[in-house]
């Protein structure tokens, strides 16, 4: 009995290893261009830095994407939609946050309409510093993400599932009266 | 000759029917037409120099020319029918006048 469980576990682990190899080298992005940081993505994608050599590329919908890029500050109205998009993504999924706005609100720290700390609402795997981050920083961030995936450290999505209640509480607290019917969707 | 005259009479009657709007005049036109017709029928029976078609002792010979008696009989019937129709038409005219207050067909309206 134990033996078979172990065997299955081994297979799962082996399978997981292979999968991680593929995942690390084929990262599809869903760009949620909320703020100014988005302007740096084209440089990172086109001939100067060529993101595609890392196997990265833009995708159209959250279903297909592996990583969600949050490029800048988040107003409450956008937050709802970010959460919706994040929840629609297929697992494993990663979240990369750009600039200080996602970390502490940046220059919008005292705005009533902007959230300050994104990691209270969604699990962030990688922060990329800079206002706005230069393309080098962006590429560096992605390289970090690839390394994390390879090392099994990019586990934000697992964290989110495990601590869903906590996240949900924070989300509801922040969104508050912006709810229309229920907190997200039916 | 009389035949032409009767046909002219008939045409006059038809002209009346074509041109008149007054109910009474229409009935008159109809009567004129009938009279023309009756005259025509009577004229059919006429044979020049013909004799009365009655066998009497005066003209025994069967080789004689006789006037055809049948049209007269026919016309008699025809006249009777004509009178009946005219009477009916006049009765209808009266009723129409009661109803519409006019004898003019065009003023009665309707399609």
């Amino acid at each position: 009995m134990d033996n078979t469980v172990e065997k299955q576990e081994n297979i799962r682990k082996g399978w997981d290893g292979i999968s991680r190899f593929f995942r690390a080298n084929s990262i599809w992005m869903l760009m949620y261009c909320t703020g100014c940081c988005a302007i740096e993505l084209p440089q990172a994608m086109t001939s100067r830095y060529d993101m595609e050599r890392l196997g990265m590329g833009p995708m159209a919908t959250p279903r297909q994407a592996d990583v969600l890029l949050i490029t800048g500050y988040l107003s409450l109205k956008t937050l709802r939609r970010i959460i919706y998009a994040y929840e629609q993504m297929s697992t494993p999924k990663y979240l990369v946050a750009f600039g200080p706005c996602t970390l502490n609100g940046g220059i919008y720290y005292d705005s009533h309409a902007v959230i300050n700390r994104l990691d209270q609402y969604l699990p962030i795997d990688v922060y990329i510093a800079g206002c706005m981050p230069k393309p080098e920083a962006v590429m560096n961030g992605f390289n970090d993400l690839i390394g994390m995936i390879k090392r099994k450290e990019a586990n934000g999505w697992k964290k989110y599932e495990q601590n869903k209640d906590w996240y949900r509480k924070n989300q509801i607290q922040a969104l508050g009266e912006l709810r229309i019917k229920d907190e997200f969707h039916e | 000759m009389i035949q032409y005259f009767s046909i002219v009479l008939m045409l006059v009657g038809i002209y009346g029917l074509l041109s008149q709007r007054n109910v009474i005049k229409l009935i008159a036109a109809l009567n004129i037409f009938e009279i023309g017709l009756n005259l025509f029928i009577v004229s059919i029976g006429f044979v020049k120099d013909g004799l009365v078609p009655i066998l009497t002792s005066n003209n025994e010979s069967s080789a004689m020319l006789y006037v055809d008696p049948l049209p007269h009989a026919l016309v008699l019937t025809s006249i009777v029918i004509g009178v009946g129709v005219t009477a009916l038409a006049l009765a209808l005219a009266k009723k129409m006048h009661d109803k519409y207050g006019t004898y003019d067909m065009d003023e009665m309206g309707g399609k």
Partner: protein, 301 residues
Amino acid sequence: MITGILTGFGILLFAFVWQTSLDGINRKIVGRFQKRIGPKWYQQFRDIFKALSKTGVTHGWVFDFGVMMALGGIMATVMFLPVVGYSAFPGMDNFFIFVYLLAVGMLGMAMSSVGSGNPLAGIGVMRALTQMVGYEVPFMIVILGIIFGHNTSSLSELAAIQQASGIMTWNLVKMPIGTVVAYISLLGMLGKKPFETFIAPAEIASGPMVEYGGKQLGMLMIMHEFATFIEVTLFVTLFLGGATTLFGFIAKYFVVYILASLISNALARFKIDQVIKFYYKVPITLAIVQALMVVFLGWGV
């Protein structure tokens, strides 16, 4: 029968490996054209297997069933293809089987994607089908000419006839107008750029593919590779005389595919009604002219 099926599996495997690699190479070439380095040649494999390894979502049984039907139908089609003289079922590689078996796959995919309940998928399928009306009719008319001219609709026989005396008996040479039309249709079939309306990622969020993630997406990517293989092989076999050697086949295939890709990268996208208008103006006229030439004048037979 068994050997036939095994041959079919072999062709299937070859098709997958070759076309997927070529796709990677193609991406690299396109990258170079854009002054980029481009991905590894095996990037396409990575993408497919990554997608397969993910945990996607499903919208109900038809969402999964359609995907299986799509992949199954396309794989069945590939197994009928004659490649380099290998044919799983000799004599049965009738042209119409490809047209209609391909449709099974398309139908499965359309069903599955619309089954997701996403209207963008519906719009994508609508555009795909509309485009199909555009490119299939001229293509089929050209094929009519070929079949009528050579009096057979078997692909391997058609290839054999063309191989009779070198390049001069290729349909490319004998029916140049038809070849041009068929190539334009091929662009539509492959969904290359001027005729890429049904995917249009920035407009309808990649159309039919909008709801796929995980293994369904992976399977559809495999299906796409197979479909591409079928379409390009059809073109190679029908117009470039097929191939007797693997190298010849690969070379012809490479040229046809990369050319399509380069054309695609140089052009902008049509609107869907422009697609139809285009196909029903130029290619269909040329196709009919070609067919009439074959049927009534006997040219190119």
